[in-house]
Amino acid sequence: MDYVVEMLNIRKEFPGIVANDNITLQVKKGEIHALLGENGAGKSTLMNVLFGLYQPEKGEIRVNEEPVKITDPNVANDLGIGMVHQHFMLVEPFTVTQNIILGSEPTKFGKINLKEAEKKVQELSDRYGLRVDAKAKISDISVGMQQRVEILKTLYRGAEVLIFDEPTAVLTPQEITELMEIMHSLTAEGKSIILITHKLKEIMEISERCTVIRKGKGIDTLNVADTNVTELASLMVGRNVSFKTDKTPAEPKETVLKIQNLKVRDKRKVDMVKGMDLEVRAGEIVGVAGVDGNGQSELVEAITGLQKSESGTIQFNHKDITNLSPRKVTESGVGHIPQDRHKYGLVLDFTIGENMVLQTYYQKPYSKYKTLNYKEIYQKAEGLIDEYDVRTPSVYTKARALSGGNQQKAIIGREIDRSPDLLIAAQPTRGLDVGAIEFIHHRLIEERDKGKAVLLISFELDEILDLSDRIAVMFDGKNVAEVKPEETDENELGLLMAGSTKEKAGDQQ
C-alpha cells in the first residue's frame, strides 16, 4: 500500500518531558486518518513535527516514500503538507486574501497583485464549496469562516496532505456537518487528511483509520470500521469510560434566575441579545443551545456584570441584579465558569493558589485589614486541588504551566467551592478529553442535586442533551424555543438553532 506520509519512530523531548516517544504514524493516500489521545498525549507535538515547527530528536519522516527533513514550515509546504491549527493562525487586521497569500504573494513589478490573488482565492473557495469572502477582514468574519480560510491557506499552497488539529472544537453542529462535507470533497480530489479530535463519534463517522497515542507513546492503529467508540475510549485513557452521564430526574424548586426582555449590545455596539427571556430554577440544569454568535456570550456577560445591558431585567433570588458590577453579582451568589479560560478564567502568571481566591482574596480569612494571609490561601488551594483532582506539581506552580484540562478543573473547583446559588458554565468542556469531561459533568450534576441552579451554555449538542433538564434554544438573540431533552433530538435542535420555528422543526421530523 502507498503511504503519502510516514512518521517512523518519532521522538520529541521538551525540557523535562518526552512529548513523543517512538511514535509511528502512516497515512494512506486519499484517506482521513484520525489521531486520538488525551490532553497532553502529544498529538499537537507530533503534528508540529510533521509541519516543521519542531525538529524531532529521533525518527524518520517519509513523504511519498522519500525520506525528508522538514526543517521549517516552508519545507512542509513544498512537500504538500498543510496544517489547520487548533488555534487559528490568522492575522486579524488583514483580509482573507492577505492571510492566504502571506508568504507566497503574487507580485507585479514588486507590488502585491491583490486583484489577481483575490480572484484566485475566490475561485479556489468556490471549487471546494468553502463560501469565503476573499475581501473580508478576518476580524469581521465568523469562527467557522475563519477555519475555512485556514483550509484555503493550505489549498492555496497546493497541499496534498492536510492536518486538522481539533477543527470541530469551536464549531457549531451545522458547521461541523459542513466541515465534514468539505473533508469528503477534499479526499475525493485525492487529498489525504490527518484529523485530531477528542470526539469519538466524529472519528467513527468520518475517518477510515485511527491511530491512538497515550502519554506520548503510540498505542495502536485501527481500521475504524472494525472498532467502536468504547474500544477507542479505553485505548485512549487506558481504562473503561462510561459515556452516558447517570443522573436522576431533576426536582426543580423556586426560581433563582429570571431574565425578562433583556437587550445587550456587544463591544462594537451591535445588538446581540434582542429581548431574551429565561428562567432557571433551583435544582435544575438549563442548557442553552445555539449556534455561536447568537448572543450567548453577551447573555452570560450581562448576567455576570461584565457587559452593561441596554434594557430588560435580570432577577436573581428575587433581587434585581441588572447592571450590577461583577463583584456585586459574584457576592450575591453567582458562579461563572467562563468560556475562555485563558482570557477570563485564570491569571496565568499567578500561582494555582493565588488563582483559587481570585474572587475571594479580599474576604476573611484570606484577607484581614486588607492584608493577605497566604497561609490560609494556600491551605485552601491544597484542599481544592485534592478534591478536584487538579494535576499540578504544587499549589505554588504558575497556572500557565498546567494543561488545559487541569486549568479547567481548577476553575471549576474554585467556582463550585464558593457554593453559588447559580452556576453559569460556559463551554465547560471545550477542548478537553473524555476523562476530564466525565469528571466535569459529574460535578455539574452534583451541584444540581445539591439544589443549585445551573445554566449551561454549550455548542456541543451531546453535552446539552446529556446534562440538561430543560433546553432553551437561542437564536438571533432570543429564546426561540424551550424543549425537554427526552422529547427532542439533535436533528430537531439543529433546526431550531438555525431559526426554524418549533412547529416547522416538528413537521420535518
Binding site: 516552508n74 493562525m89 490568522l90 492575522v91 488583514f94 502571506l102 508568504g103 507590488k111 502585491i112
Partner: protein, 319 residues
C-alpha cells in the same frame, strides 16, 4: 505681519525641524510594525548625529560639498549596525524591549561622548564646515504664494523625509515585504506557519529603524547643531516616538505628527511676531506641542491600536 508672511516664516522652519523627526519616526514605524518596541530611537539619533559629525569633520576634504550626503549615509549605516544590539537583545535574547531600548539610549550617549573625548580630547567636536544648506527650487519656487512658502529656502532633506514617508507607506502596504513585516508584528506565529522567518523580519525591521534613526540624527546635526556634544540630541528621539504613536503606527500618520510637532515648535518661537500669540507667556507655547499631543490622544485617537504583538518576543513553538 500678513498671513502669507506668517506662513512663510512658520512653514520652512517647521519643515526643517520636522525632517529629522520624520526620518526617525519612520524607523520607529518599521520597528514597531514588526513587533519590536523601540524606545531607543533617541539613542539611534544620538549615534547618527555623532557619526554624521565625525565623518563630516574627517572627510570634508575628500568629498567636498557632497560631504553632508555621504555623512548621513555613513551615519545611517553605522546606526543600523548599532541597532543590531537592540535587535539581538529584543529578538534573539528575548529581552524586555522597552528596557533594551532604554539601554540603547544610555549606551549611545555614553559611547558618543566617550569616543568624542578619546578622539577630540574634549567633550564636543568642532563645528563642521560642510553642512546642509537650504535652496530655492527654481521653477516651483516661482509659483506665487505657494512657491514662497514651500519651495524657497528649504532643505532638500526635508523633501527627502517626506518622500521617504511615502516610500515607507508603499513598502509597508503594497509589497510582499511590507505584508510580511506587518504580519510578524500582529501574529508572529501565523507568519511563522506561513513560512516567514519571524526573526529575520524583525532583525531587518530593527536595522531599518537604526538606519532611519541614524539619518534623522545626522540630518539634525548637519542642519541645526553642526557639532556633536552630549546636548546635541535632547529629546528629539522621544518626540519621534510620540510621532509614531500619534500617527497610529502608520508612515504617513507619523509624518503628519512630526510635521505637526514642527509646526507647533516653529509657532512657539515665531510667536513674538504673531498678534494673538504675542502676549501669551512663552512657557505655554513651549509646552504646547506636548499638551496638544496629550489632548489629541485623549480626545480623538485614543483608540489607536498598537500592532498586536508589539513588545512580545517571539518564541518558536509557544503561543
Amino acid at each position: 505681519m500678513g498671513f502669507v508672511d506668517l506662513l512663510q516664516s512658520i512653514i520652512p522652519p517647521a519643515l526643517f525641524f520636522s525632517a529629522p523627526l520624520i526620518f526617525t519616526a519612520l524607523g520607529g514605524v518599521f520597528s514597531e510594525r514588526s513587533g519590536v518596541i523601540n524606545i531607543g530611537l533617541e539613542g539611534l539619533m544620538v549615534m547618527g548625529a555623532f557619526v554624521g559629525i565625525v565623518f563630516n569633520l574627517t572627510f570634508a576634504d575628500v568629498f567636498g560639498s557632497w560631504t553632508p550626503w555621504v555623512s548621513i549615509i555613513a551615519a545611517a549605516i553605522v546606526s543600523a549596525i548599532f541597532s543590531l544590539i537592540h535587535a539581538v537583545a529584543a529578538v534573539s535574547f528575548r529581552a524586555d524591549q522597552v528596557v533594551s531600548g532604554v539601554a540603547i539610549n544610555f549606551l549611545a550617549l555614553g559611547l558618543g561622548v566617550f569616543l568624542t573625548k578619546q578622539w577630540y580630547d574634549r567633550g564636543q567636536t568642532d563645528m563642521v564646515s560642510q553642512q546642509f544648506f537650504t535652496r530655492d527650487f527654481s521653477l516651483l519656487g516661482d509659483i506665487p504664494i505657494i512657491g514662497e512658502i514651500f519651495f524657497q529656502g528649504i532643505y532638500l532633506t526635508s523633501y527627502l523625509a517626506i518622500v521617504l514617508a511615502f516610500v515607507a507607506w508603499y513598502v509597508l502596504y503594497k509589497t510582499p515585504f511590507g505584508l510580511r513585516l506587518r504580519s510578524v508584528g500582529e501574529h508572529p506565529m501565523a507568519a511563522d506557519t506561513n513560512g516567514i522567518n519571524v526573526y529575520k523580519m524583525r532583525y531587518v525591521a530593527v536595522i531599518l529603524s537604526g538606519a532611519l534613526g541614524g539619518l534623522g540624527g545626522s540630518v539634525f546635526a548637519l542642519t541645526i547643531a553642526l557639532n556633536f556634544s552630549h546636548a546635541t540630541i535632547v529629546g528629539q528621539g522621544f518626540m519621534s516616538l510620540a510621532a509614531v504613536i500619534f500617527g497610529k503606527w502608520h508612515p504617513l500618520g507619523a509624518m503628519g505628527a512630526a510635521l505637526f510637532f514642527g509646526f507647533a515648535q516653529s509657532l512657539s518661537v515665531i510667536s513674538g511676531g504673531v498678534p494673538v500669540l504675542e502676549d501669551v507667556p512663552q512657557v505655554f507655547l513651549l509646552i504646547a506641542p506636548y499638551v496638544l499631543t496629550i489632548l489629541a490622544l485623549a480626545g480623538f485617537i485614543g483608540r489607536a491600536e498598537a500592532p498586536r504583538a508589539n513588545g512580545e518576543p517571539y518564541i518558536k513553538g509557544t503561543r
